[in-house]
Point group: C2
Chain length 348, copies 2
Amino acid sequence: MPSEKLANRERRRHQGEHRVTLEDVARHAGVAPITVSRALNTPEKVSTKLRDRVDQAVKTLGYVPNLIAGGLASAGTRVIPVVVPSLSILTFIEVIHGIQQTLENAGYQVLLGSTDYDLNREAALVDSVLGYSPSGVIMTGLHHRDTTIDRLRAWGRPVVELMELGTSYIDMNVGVETSEAGACMASHLVERGYRRIAFLGTGMDRDYRARYRYHAHREVLERAGLDGSLLFQNDEPASYEAGRRVFLEALEAQPDIDAIHFANDNLAAGAIMEANRQGIRVPDEVAIGGYLGLSLAEHLTPRLTTVVLPRFEMGVRAAEMLLDRLAGRERHAQRVDLGYRLAVREST
Amino acid sequence: MPSEKLANRERRRHQGEHRVTLEDVARHAGVAPITVSRALNTPEKVSTKLRDRVDQAVKTLGYVPNLIAGGLASAGTRVIPVVVPSLSILTFIEVIHGIQQTLENAGYQVLLGSTDYDLNREAALVDSVLGYSPSGVIMTGLHHRDTTIDRLRAWGRPVVELMELGTSYIDMNVGVETSEAGACMASHLVERGYRRIAFLGTGMDRDYRARYRYHAHREVLERAGLDGSLLFQNDEPASYEAGRRVFLEALEAQPDIDAIHFANDNLAAGAIMEANRQGIRVPDEVAIGGYLGLSLAEHLTPRLTTVVLPRFEMGVRAAEMLLDRLAGRERHAQRVDLGYRLAVREST
DNA sequence: CTGTTAGCGCATTCAG
DNA sequence: CTGAATGCGCTAACAG
């Protein structure tokens, strides 16, 4: 007795207005609800005739699918949580941009989460977003709480870990060899003939990737018989201003420094701009190298030598790998090294 | 007959592993499922004793709520779609950052959508994200297709439109008086004594806010008896490189220009850096003004005069207004002017 | 304060 | 190719 059912419905409905549902469309088109569902999701399984009728009804009623209901019934939504440590850092912005563009074109939505470099927040965030039955998850880095790793593994859907490469990852891993990249810049500076080479960073307690680079840097220097312990840092977030400050602090503390390996381009750029202001000649008095590949680096005078990370591509690639798995095109866990590139310019 | 029900369940389940459900927790704690639901969502409505038992069960079973199911039952998820024109523009990044931080602290998640400045994509995106039964929506700007506006209005939940202020908005409006901001910089240049003042932009076909600023700029100039038609543009996305290029093009076409009003700081910064490289003296040969308030502006030499937009605060405020409405703290539509600030520095 | 009942709107069986 | 029946996991309503 459909009419009775309908009457009940009107009474029960939680939220005022009657949103158009699949059932309304079905009734209007004179077909079963499931046919509407199929016409929308797998049109090739429905005859042209019925499909047209359904499309017509959808249009005239202004039907918009309830993705939540669909998600519950099919135990999955076309949502991909992307978990990053911070949104104030340009590195991750570019990565997110690549992910977002790729996923949106494939009909998925990005759910943004940031952890502020706190693994406990990350754990809570993961628990929470898994509650949306997402199709997959994209995480930053390989450092997570064991419980987070276990949960993600047990979950069984595609997970990409992004940024640095490692041997132990949950499911898929895209990124670059972070330590090597640090060693690469250090070697460059050594080869250029600099002898008092310092590493300058900010927020290195939280940013373990920067720490990895420093360790690699130190090793390179010591292997060359140089002092690898010249390290200056503070715990501000990375910014031009922070770069300016550590730069001045370092020069004051160790005036004989002849080259600086900065933890990232933001800091290095701040230093170059300050050097220009103070008339400190780069690279004659002090050489400056960075890490990231910000476009700003090419516009400074002198142009900044830096290790260029393919940030946008990283995002794109991560999203593509996820999509491939979701489409069943790719079965096994994989690891993709996107490589970095040393851009040698006038600052060193 | 619970055991029979359970047996059915195991057979039917779509996706392999048995995820822990509310029911499992309820059984473990010896209470009704609704009690678990309440203990989790409205703990104050449950006795301490039962609440503890539930919390215990949740912990030992590792229960993670299915937000999709909850969303379906309660016709709403703690998700806020944020629709921006582009992720490659720093303006919106800062805004998103503010939104994200505020919402995440209040237990909401940001669903990111970008339209690429296409109102049809925007319409499709809005339709799609409304399917997730979000708690509210944050949109960029006041320009939308009529159908988008109608749908959002009919939807009946909080909607914030962000960036520019206007008289006709859907529900709530946070931003700054864009045209005034453009007039402000133009007035500043006029007052400084410049006479051949050009406006330089990129992508202005899509970026109507930049067009508004240009119109205001033109009006100010003409009212001062100056030529307001000096406009140079191309359709690249905003970048240092694009700024460098329009800058050189404009100087070549009109060598007598004595001041430039750039559509944004990215362009202006590109121009200043190019000027430094070429030995063009700023502001003596040509003055340069920007719009946005990028931190970079303060580190250039000369420091860039610009109109500072409170981008982060805009995001925070939009999110707060949404949260206030969701909490029933605020009832009526509102409009908040966050104001801009002219930062006069050495480039003009 | 706690429980019972009855769906939310859709997609997955399984039949025809 | 189409449909009927059923339940995804949770919460709103209403009793007790």
